[in-house]
Assembly symmetry: C2
Homo-oligomer: 330 residues x 2
């Protein structure tokens, strides 16, 4: 405790609204816990065959907000991955073409580039593979890709942007480039500098006591076994049947009995702003979600205090939302 | 012609990318034409019983982007009045709840505060009256207002914002305030400083020769009779049956035979970015639209050059799009 130690005081003052309730902590003795986690980088890994360029990101942003690549002309990626709603939709299950309701809750695209398996059932390994699925899905945008590309090709501005983003292609308005551009934009949708990231990087006051107790419980009770790495997901598949769900999950992809009811671990980044929860979106609050995960995955009945602490910790995973402007479409 | 006149040269240089094709014009001799028009103010008239405050605008912005005041939970005002698409939707007819297609083309909300009659049939006089219609319309958001208000009331943040915007109300989450907040936000969605506005304010080079020829044709051929005032609409009702339309228009509102097929004059502000055109959205290009208006409203077959000039003029009516950030919703 060095309350009057000059350099700590000045650091606190320079840091702005630091609340000196009792002391500026040089260390809180939880280093072993912190070492189990990784702060979120500003960018996820970039694949060698899809370099991240400004031109692709700008085109990808336009495409992400483009409703005319849906059959109705009013549904875009941003309809369900709504930037006003944590880049998700905050309804239980995705609602798409002609109001059809899908089987699963919309995952946020925030930090999705840090996942090694996309969709709840991991049927695609990367964002390039993921990007075209919702355009074609009958319950989402319900558009065949040829028609989508033909609509885009009808606009000079898209022709120019595709050519600028993929200058080596003779015929750049194609499926692969549509996927690459969308994936590139999504790789910029990350949320660094959450309170927890600031804590991991050395700001001992970025978390309060309850939040730290939650972190300790998160580690000690084994949540971290699956929710690990920078995006707090192992990108692996684990069997779970949450209340109300009969969804067989990864079994749909592999047809293997062992994969029945397995789902890819969802990220916990920004989990406080991406409710409701679980593959069927039937769980409304983090308190319920934590209790269910304790029962289903860890075989434990968490007492209320533990739940409250873990929920407090989960709230510290909300980072800085991406800074972007709605593009002007042609 | 004062090509070498020092102060004009320096003004041109200071003004940036001014193209000195032949001369910097002190006056182009078209003052009589300019005097027929009004530049767009930054704000429309504000009604005495709904003062424009930051709190109402901020709340109105949240509500405008809020899909949970629709039955499906995915349709907001911004779905059809999409900021990426000129605050309209760029499809022929509005598409709403469960993919239902309405009868009419979505009007832009840009500069709507300058209109004295709202909707194509003018069934509401002002934005307060207009705001709740699409929430309730079965083919749009399909939500009863009581349920919409109840959903909003379920969020602490909305309770706080309503209380902050309407501090004198004991029970501020109500229909009137929902309408007032939405109307307030919409009154900020204006597009001043179009090339034509800069021209009207004295920048003789803001329009080129063809665009000025178009302005002259617009006046001389009588387009200005209905498309007048700052928003280039008289807010009056005129009978027109555009190709493919059987819509009786204002007759639906008044039941008077004389009102059959009458529609409120649409604004021409930003008309280049708010295609397609006409009450049924069946007209895709400005060239077609100008030709149809010549035939239907003025009894003239415009020659191609006149059409091209008027279209060039209409392009000068695209102003600066509103600067806004997508709100973070609870």
């Amino acid at each position: 405790m060095n309350f009057h130690q000059p350099h700590l005081m000045s650091a606190a003052l320079l840091g702005g609204a630091v609340f000196l309730s009792s002391a500026v902590l040089a260390d809180d003795g939880l280093g072993d816990y912190r070492s189990r986690f990784d702060p979120l980088p500003h960018l996820p890994p970039i694949p060698a065959d899809n370099s991240l360029t400004d031109e692709k990101v700008e085109l990808g942003k336009m495409l992400f907000f483009e409703p005319r690549i849906s059959t109705s002309g009013v549904i875009s990626c941003a309809t369900c991955h709504n930037p006003a709603l944590g880049w998700s939709d905050r309804i239980p299950r995705a609602t798409g073409h002609q109001g059809q309701i899908g089987e699963r809750n919309t995952p946020t695209v925030l930090n999705a580039g840090f996942l090694d398996a996309q969709f709840w059932d991991g049927r695609e390994p990367d964002l390039e593979g993921q990007a075209l699925g919702p355009i074609e899905a009958a319950v989402e945008m319900a558009m065949d890709l040829e028609s989508a590309l033909s609509r885009l090709d009808g606009f000079d501005i898209y022709q120019e942007h595709f050519a600028g983003a993929f200058p080596e292609d003779d015929d750049p308005v194609n499926e692969d480039n549509l996927a690459q551009a969308l994936a590139s934009f999504q790789r910029t949708l990350n949320t660094p500098n959450s309170p927890f990231d600031r804590y991991l990087r050395g700001d001992m006051n970025a978390l309060d006591t309850q939040e730290k107790d939650g972190m300790v419980a998160f580690v000690d009770n084994g949540c971290i076994a699956c929710h690990r790495g920078p995006n707090l997901s192992d990108s692996q598949f684990h069997a779970i049947q949450v209340p109300g769900s009969t969804d067989v999950g990864r079994y749909d992809v592999t047809g293997e009995e062992a994969d029945k009811y397995r789902f890819r671990t969802p990220t916990l980044r920004n989990v406080a702003v991406t409710y409701p929860y679980m593959n069927n979106g039937a769980t409304e609050t983090l308190e319920e979600a934590v209790a269910i995960m304790g029962q289903e995955m860890l075989g434990q009945e968490f007492e209320e205090e533990k739940i409250d602490n873990i929920v407090a910790f989960l709230h510290t995973l909300t980072g800085e939302m991406p800074d972007f402007e709605v593009p002007a479409l042609p």
